[in-house]
């Protein structure tokens, strides 16, 4: 498409303006996290709010580490998100393979249930799941092996409900369908088992879709709020997002600390994104295709 210089200039100008719109709250967040509460509130009335000016220190960060067991929360969030991703990659790719590549009784039913679940928002199920979680059995080894009731305050309540995902399965099915049929036919003739075809042919050829599913699982898990907020009270299992609740108590009096905590919540994911940006963008983009 040919374009005039004028329209190009206009484009660049409006794109830069939009950049400010998208970035100013985050710049403000990071800058404020180094300022004392008083100077932060003073700076708000001028452009200083976005600049690293005045007395800057790491005090807010030290206070945050004093107030909450940050390392524990960070570990919990990383553990829960990573475990869900790993488990999800296994489960969803296996069923995705079976649906895309194999002929079996019951496939139509399973597939139609999965397609129906695509439009079901999790929030709809939160309350009945809360009830279910109170009744589910688990086991414990403390004081000899025995069964316990209720999944509140645990890791499994944050992981297992999200491991199998209709959307991830759907992405795997779409991808596996695109792999050439001749490959698995040849392997079958050679006497390979279906599991072996999945493991040695389908999986090695499917790096991109595994990456896409990993990212699209990790991000919402890391950012999840509603479900852990209603199932976790015990500090031992709290996620980093829930840790924010510690700062509501004197809401408005410790904005500097809140900004420091928000920065700590955001930085890991932004670094992760910037380090694998190209891949991230292709992954998200590909999730909408063939929708």
């Amino acid at each position: 498409m040919k374009r005039s210089r004028l329209s190009l200039g206009f484009s660049l100008l409006s794109m830069s303006g939009l950049s400010i719109f998208f970035i100013f709250p985050l710049v403000f967040m990071v800058m404020s996290s180094f300022k004392s509460n008083d100077s932060l509130l003073q700076d708000v009335s001028s452009v200083r709010a976005f600049l690293p000016v005045g007395h800057l220190s790491l005090d807010n960060y030290w206070e945050v580490f004093n107030r909450v067991p940050f390392g524990r929360f960070l570990f919990n969030s990383l553990f829960v998100s990573t475990a869900t991703v790993v488990l999800g990659l296994f489960l969803n790719s296996m069923i995705g393979f079976a649906i895309a590549k194999m002929e079996w009784r019951g496939k139509k039913m399973v597939l139609s249930i999965i397609l129906a679940l695509l439009i079901l928002p999790f929030d709809v199920l939160a309350i009945p799941m809360l009830y279910l979680a109170a009744k589910l059995p688990w086991f414990s080894f403390t004081g000899g092996f025995h069964f316990t009731q209720g999944w509140f305050n645990s890791y499994q309540i944050q992981i297992l409900p999200f491991a199998a995902s209709a959307f991830s399965i759907f992405l795997f099915v779409q991808y596996f369908k695109g792999l050439p049929k001749e490959l698995d036919e040849a392997a079958l003739v050679d006497g390979a088992s279906w599991f072996r075809i999945y493991r040695s042919i389908a999986v090695p050829l499917s790096g991109p879709v595994f990456g896409t599913v990993a990212i699209l699982t990790f991000l919402p898990m890391w950012n999840m709020y509603l479900w852990p907020a209603i199932t976790i009270q015990d500090e031992k299992y709290r996620s980093i997002m829930l840790g924010l609740q510690y700062f509501y108590v004197n809401f408005g009096t410790s904005w500097g600390q809140i900004m420091a905590y928000l920065t700590l919540l955001t930085i890991p994911i932004v670094i992760l994104f910037l380090s694998m940006q190209r891949f991230f963008v292709t992954s998200v983009a590909s999730s909408g295709i063939k929708g």
Binding site: L8, F28, E103, W104, L125, Y131, A164, I289
Partner: protein
């Protein structure tokens, strides 16, 4: 004969292998999607509580009746001894008390335990006013707020996302930088975004500062304390957070359109507008359906922003369906009522999806 035996044997083996591969996911979906759906429906007919020494009792349709129940009542004005309509000091007509109709031993069972939703059709001469009563006014308020939110967010976020995608799809220097910047809010948790924007919208917050730079005489305004501005404020931050994600989705769609189509259109003398109309738009129809459905579902589930920023206020102007579900089920621990509420919400989501699906069916082929 032998041949067909081999075939059936192979088919059986394939079915067994397929089920083995599917089993872990199928079991988890059964436990955490199918069972909760049935629980939502069955618990909705009970008075189940989260922790209760007594087992849940069936209450029939009463939860659903409370949620959906609505009635219209005509109130009469009070009159003084001469029969004239009583007027208070603010020149408003004084009406008889609603309590007579809504109290638990009221003579009209239709109005029992209902509360006022709104009044309309006042006739000052005759001394009557109509009152709409609801079993749970918060259901109707949250329904209205949720639909309003979705009605604005779906087209604006979808359209804005497409505009951004078209911008960063141009061949110009720095487009990767712009893609990154527009996408970063989408990486930021809604929890973080909500806290940040709470500060921005405060009376002594950033938004007022920015407006004052442009209009020096502007009086600081508490954006989150006025029922008229709070929902629009929530809408802005929600779009700010999520639009980058949909920009990338649109971008993916744009990049699947073969460059040859644009070249052919250029050869045929089509300008930018015509190319957009006849190449870009048809090429994006699958993406359009995907964006429409994902934004709609996310918008109808509006919760985190509300829980963190407004708790439904001011004056219930931002309460939403999911917020009410969580309030009833978690804060008040009324699982039975909240399950019925969830089910009504689910029916609504399903209805909207079906409408969207049939409306976009012709596009998505």
């Amino acid at each position: 004969m032998l041949q067909s035996n081999v075939v059936t044997h192979r088919k059986k083996k394939e079915t067994r292998a397929a089920w083995l591969l599917s089993l872990p996911a199928v079991l988890l979906i059964l436990l955490f999607s199918i069972v909760p759906i049935f629980l939502a429906l069955t618990l909705g007919f009970t008075d189940a509580r989260l922790v209760s020494p007594e087992p849940a009792k069936s209450v029939g349709f009463s939860n659903f009746k409370t949620i959906l129940g609505i009635g219209v009542l005509t109130l009469k004005a009070e009159r003084d001894d001469s029969g004239a309509i009583k007027i208070d000091e603010k020149n408003n007509v004084v009406y008889e008390s609603l309590r007579n109709y809504t109290k638990i031993n009221s003579e009209s069972p239709r109005f029992r335990s209902k509360s006022e939703l709104f009044r309309f059709g006042e006739n000052r001469k005759a001394g009557t006013v109509k009152v709409v009563l609801a079993g749970d006014p918060l259901f109707w308020k949250s329904l209205k707020n949720t639909l309003f939110f979705a009605l604005i967010v779906v087209p604006v976020q979808g359209g804005f996302g497409l505009l951004l995608a078209l911008m960063v799809n141009q061949k110009l220097r720095g487009r990767n930088f712009f893609r990154t910047v527009y996408f970063i809010p989408a990486l930021t948790s809604m929890v973080v975004v909500s806290m940040l924007w709470t500060f921005i919208y405060q009376k002594n917050g950033l938004l007022n500062t920015i407006i004052k730079q442009v209009m020096p005489g502007f009086q600081s305004f508490a954006w989150l304390e006025n029922p008229k501005t709070t929902m629009p404020a929530i809408i802005v931050l929600s779009i700010w957070q999520a639009v980058g994600f949909h920009m990338i989705i649109w971008l993916g769609g744009l990049q699947t359109i073969p460059a040859e189509l644009y070249e052919a259109a250029t050869v045929d003398g089509a300008g930018f507008r015509k190319q957009f109309r006849y190449v870009t738009i048809p090429g994006l129809r699958h993406t359009f359906v995907f964006v429409l459905v994902t934004i709609t579902i996310a918008a109808l589930g509006l919760f985190t922003q509300i829980a963190i920023i407004t708790q439904g206020g001011p004056l219930d102007s931002t309460t939403t369906l999911v917020y009410q579900v969580v309030l009833n089920g978690y804060a008040k621990q009324q699982i039975g009522y909240a399950s019925a509420f969830s089910f009504v919400f689910f029916a609504l989501v399903l209805l909207i999806s079906l409408i969207q699906r049939s409306a976009t069916k012709r596009l998505d082929q």
